[in-house]
Amino acid sequence: MLVQSMHFKQRASEKLGDALLQGNMRKAKGKFVDGRAKAVAEFGVWEELRTHAAKIRDRAIANLDAYLVEFERNATRRGAVVHWAESAEDACRIIVEIALQNGVKKVAKSKSMVSEEVNLNERMEAAGLQVIETDLGEYILQLAHEPPSHIVAPAVHKSKEQVADLFVAAHGKPRLTEIPAMTREAREALRGHFLTADMGISGSNFIIAETGTTLTVTNEGNADMVTTLPRIHCVITGIEKVIGTMEDFAALIRLLPRSAIGQTITNYLTVTTGIKMPDEADGPEQMHIVLVDAGRTRLVGSDMQEMLRCIRCGACMNHCPVYQNVGGHAYGWVYPGPMGSILTPAYVGLENAGDLPNAATFCGECAVACPVKIPLPDLMRKLREQQFDRKLRPWTERAAIAAWGFVATRPGLYALMSKLGARVASWMGGREGLIHSLPGIDGWTKGRDMPAPAGRTFRELYKRRASHRA
């Protein structure tokens, strides 16, 4: 996906002015946040589970090399072929080659954010393959020719009415108004594709070292279809998804759906271990597992290592007041919200990430919601430090910080400057005590007044009081 993150401010501004999007976002917000809160309250020992889960993920990252080799050994034993993709380009090339070598014409995909990250659909289509997204949200977006705006609910920015219009155009049937009827129509349209696809592609939420298993959670069961019906199954996922054992998975799966949408368990859990064995009724003849690095190993041992814990639940964006207002597309790449503000600079370069590390008030809601305790605001702050040190912020901003630091460390100068500042700003506020416009801080004054200072600083008044008392 083309990186547009450097235009965050402009894109966010457009989204803030999009009344339809604003309405759709407003509806979604309550569902995610309230749903999670209820599920967490019912669970009871949530904090203990979070701590445990963070340890599981840290252990996996610390043993990444060993776990991945163990995974490969066990998956291979069950007839799968493991491919290592160092870059996004490698991942696409490997999958397109598998498809072409096997005479594949049609590919049915279940949801995969890594495939979005590496631009897989575009590459497959360029190679002449027909690609069908089968996750309902992704299917809608494929019809709309749009990227996902959320990692769990990709079409969350769309209303029922917008989807109805897309379905009329795609299916050529009368316009529907009820969601159950619409999903039925989509299911009917997709069923044929499941049955005629030569290749199924799925993502994976976790891969298990001790068994060579890949696991995918869905609410629609489409991953069950794409992993079992086509003769070739291809998994694409990031190397950091590995965990040690099924026991580890048992802990993480209690966190994931609760954090994502307040579900105690997802409707479907697709567990795939190798190819169809002679005594088995279902399953693919070939299974390929493409493990993608594309920047992940760079994070190991870096300031950003904790980000590799991420289990892609989306709780951070659901709880982020910035995301809630601007939506996922404003962020300009695959991963939006707080996790995206860290992953985008990590994977495509800080110099291409623009304002993303600054797209936070550090309110801390994401850090509280994160099921694996990633200190998201702290990581964003570290990125701001890197931006500052690498001079990636505008010189005016850096100069302002330096000037402020110079003055604030010199109390005499500070007292003089604040005294003058308070006087001038107080005068500017006039009788009503409000400054309506102030050059240099028009980011503030465009939408708000600046309440003017009282006129005398605390320091002055306190001194006067002290001398008065003496």
Partner: protein, 240 residues
């Protein structure tokens, strides 16, 4: 008991009345209050803008200024979070001056937390006849656990509290965020103002001046000239 008052740069510059209200509250509770004259800022604007070294030199300055105090109190959850949490968990982690910052962090309190949990006050100087709604500022709430303390004190002064929907949701201030990404900040603030209006309260009270200036600025810009915007210290000191 010698208590150092960290006034905060915003209060010093913009609303000295909040500083004097804090002073009155501490003195009326029997504290000997000192206000080091050389104090300026806790360093958070630098810290959150990537200027780590500037933040560290300001933190060292604060440390030196309050060394002789039994406690340090600030009428701000945000500055308190900077000195209680950021210094020990990040800025000076693994450095020789960490123990000193740990000592400072242990004796540093946000004003409402200090009044309720350290001084355990049972009465406050001020009385307030009316209904207020309370905005929970992010740092105080999520870093320091300041939630019931200011409400308890407000009720002690006689104020009725009408809780707004989403009192824990960020107002959009975020320090320099409010200027750098002003349009998003303003929209977040508008959400907060909608909640305030819906609460029916005639006054919005909070514990951090940054948030209060943000909220007041948006209320006034949108034509609300009557809703009072107050720091809880002003209310309970009888200066609201």
């Amino acid at each position: 008991m010698k208590v150092g008052l960290f006034v905060t740069c915003l209060v010093d510059l913009s609303r000295p009345g909040i500083g004097f209200a804090a002073l009155k509250l501490l003195e009326s509770a029997g504290c000997e209050v000192v206000v080091p004259e050389s104090q300026t800022c806790c360093g958070q604007p630098g810290y959150n803008s990537g200027g780590r070294e500037i933040a560290k030199s300001l933190a060292r300055k604060v440390l030196a200024e309050f060394r002789g105090c039994d406690y340090v109190v600030a009428p701000s959850g945000s500055c308190s979070g900077q000195m209680k949490v950021a210094t020990v968990h990040d800025l000076f982690k693994g450095e020789p001056d960490l123990p000193e910052f740990e000592t400072l962090a242990a004796k540093w309190f946000e004003l409402s937390d200090f009044l309720v949990n350290v001084l355990k006050v049972h009465k406050v100087p001020g009385t307030y006849d009316g209904t207020v709604t309370y905005h929970d500022s992010c740092s105080g709430l999520r870093e320091l656990g300041v939630k019931m303390q200011p409400r308890y004190l407000l009720q002690m002064a006689g104020a009725q509290i009408a809780e707004m929907e989403g009192s824990e949701r960020c107002c959009g201030f975020g320090g320099t965020f409010s200027i750098k990404l002003g349009e998003i900040s303003t929209r977040m603030c508008e959400g907060k103002c909608e909640s305030i209006r819906a609460s029916g309260a005639r006054a919005i009270v909070g514990g951090d001046l940054g948030c209060l200036l943000n909220i007041e600025g948006r209320l006034r810009r949108t034509g609300d000239t009557t809703t009072k915007v107050l720091h809880f210290a002003q209310v309970i000191a009888g200066e609201g």
